[in-house]
């Protein structure tokens, strides 16, 4: 048996989406910039896809730029805006719990002479608008805060933050990669000037994303090349992937309500059972402002990689924010920013449910999780120190 509970990492591509993409690999393969029939044919498909995605997020088609990924969109937004506006100011603000695409782009800017402020979060992972008010100054050109955090699923007060940025003459960008499958986006309502998305998080293909850039916002190019994407992003348009992203977003939006309620039921049962049946466990996240898919727990006295691997031996795929599985020696920056003690953060696991999971899978996962945690705790000197070795699941 294989159970996939790692939808925040990626989702399977919907078969209906694959169907929609297939002709553009083999039959309708023209370069969308070619002037002959083949080019006109794919140019039409790309234009339709752009119109679809734009319509679904409430922007104009000419405000949407296709990219290779959410990461590229994030890089472009941060570096592009900061570099373009450096004569106005050299300060940008992000949150401490951003995705690495934002974090490391901000590091890059810092290494190139920019000032970067990283806003703290509360114990549930929420940024406080007050902290933004305090951090913003007349040198600030850009504020970037994600809509939904990828590790704990907390929803950020983006609208409020965007209003503060605008009040001070700064632009506002939001990485909405994790929000798109669960929250209907309207860029006007959200108040953002730039927004990143990625198709493979909403049952679309990997390798394609987009950046919304409100008309009037100027930023430097990241990828220089031909005249694609209104000469703002070079590289032959990837027709099948762009078509796939549009199709996937269409399904995500029309089936959102149904998926959300199904997934939330799975998540709720899982969270309730884990908290009731496993001792010394800490729930990481916000119980009110959150997406329905994510449940992040820290299991005290054990290390996340061991949990992940024993679960994998049982056919269950989950994700660990622990240092040991990420290749670096630092545990999750998100959990640390939330104030989770470092020794507890080592034992953290993210479970992210999807539309195809079942209640049986949830129950099976809880059973295997209990066995796994018990097995690792039996081996743990910390646990035996704390409990005198008297532990029964």
């Amino acid at each position: 048996m294989r159970i996939y509970i790692d939808h925040a990492a990626t989702t399977p591509c919907d078969k209906r989406v694959v169907e929609a993409m297939l002709p553009y690999f083999t039959d309708e393969y023209g370069n969308a910039d070619s002037q002959h029939y083949f080019g006109r044919d794919t140019a039409k498909a790309v234009a339709d896809a752009r119109e679809t995605v734009a319509g679904l997020i409430g922007c104009k088609p000419n405000e949407l730029y296709f990219t290779s990924s959410g990461t590229e969109a994030d890089n472009w937004a941060l570096k592009g805006v900061a570099l373009h506006n450096r004569h106005k100011g050299n300060h940008i603000i992000i949150s401490a719990i951003e995705h690495h695409a934002i974090l490391t782009s901000a590091d890059w800017l810092e290494n190139n002479g920019f000032r970067v402020t990283r806003l703290p979060v509360d114990s549930t992972g929420r940024v406080s608008p007050k902290d933004l008010e305090n951090a913003i100054d007349d040198q600030t050109t850009l504020v970037s805060v994600m809509y939904v955090n990828n590790e704990v699923g907390t929803i950020e007060p983006v609208r409020e933050l965007a209003d503060i940025a605008h009040k001070h003459g700064a632009l506002f960008h939001s990485d909405c990669v994790q929000a798109m499958p669960y929250i209907k986006i309207d860029v006007k309502e959200l108040g953002v000037d730039l927004l990143s998305m990625s198709a493979h998080k909403f049952y679309g293909p990997k390798g394609v994303g987009a950046l919304y850039i409100r008309n009037g916002v100027k930023l430097d190019k990241l990828i220089c090349g031909g005249g694609q994407e209104r000469s703002q992003r070079g590289g032959t348009t990837n027709t099948p992937l762009v078509v796939g992203m549009a199709k996937a977003l269409e399904y995500a939006v029309t089936e959102m309500e149904e998926n959300n309620s199904r997934i939330a039921k799975l998540r709720d049962r899982f969270v309730d059972r884990v908290l009731a049946e496993i001792p010394y466990v800490r729930f990481n996240g916000n119980k009110e402002h959150r997406v329905p898919s994510v449940a992040n727990f820290s299991f005290e006295f054990v290390e996340g990689e061991g949990i992940l691997m024993l679960m994998d031996f049982n056919g269950i795929a989950v994700s660990s924010g622990s240092a040991c599985s990420s290749g670096s020696l630092d545990p999750s920056h998100v959990l640390l920013a939330m104030g989770v003690p470092i020794e507890v953060s080592h034992g953290s696991i993210r479970f992210s449910f999807g539309k195809d999971n079942t209640m049986e899978e949830v129950d099976y996962t809880v059973e295997k999780l209990k066995e796994t945690i018990a097995k690792l705790r039996e081996m743990s000197p910390l646990f035996n120190l704390k409990t005198g070795g008297t532990y029964n699941v």
């Binding site: 054990v302 290390e303 040991c324 599985s325 039996e378 743990s380 000197p381």
Partner: protein, 134 residues
């Protein structure tokens, strides 16, 4: 990323536990860094007749802990002191580069446990001397 031998050692660790009234005991590492290993030894005539471990740490830390205890059972304490992390890694046919540091834990825990054993031995002989003196 792990080879089959490491996966097996992690999935079926040997010698998990604590020896009561151990002749030597060593605990190394700390929770902040994410790994701690405790090793207890039963030693007769300078030969390690039993070894048990408890480890808080990643799969590599658990696999190397288990392997190290298996390697030193039957060795004299002097031989056990020659068991380096490189030898443990060699026994496991390699670890991913970023995991090599996890194997140092086992080597250090063994050294500490043997040190503890020797200190206890010295104290015993001091006790004997004092008894004879009286």
């Amino acid at each position: 990323m792990y080879n089959q031998k490491v996966l097996d050692a992690f999935a079926n660790p040997q010698n998990v536990g604590v020896i009561e009234n151990a002749d030597g005991e060593g605990t190394v590492g700390n929770a902040t860094c994410g790994d701690i290993m405790k090793i207890t030894l039963k030693i007769e005539n300078d030969v390690i007749v039993d070894a048990k471990f408890q480890t808080f740490g990643c799969a590599a830390a658990i696999a190397t802990s288990s392997t190290a205890t298996q390697m030193i059972i039957g060795m004299t304490v002097d031989e056990a002191l020659q068991v380096t992390n490189a030898k443990v890694v060699e026994y496991l046919e390699g670890l991913p580069p970023q995991k090599i540091h996890c194997s140092v834990l086992a080597e250090e825990a063994i050294k500490k446990a043997i040190e503890d054993y020797r200190t206890k031995q010295q104290n015993k002989s001091v006790d004997k001397t004092s008894i004879e003196y009286v």
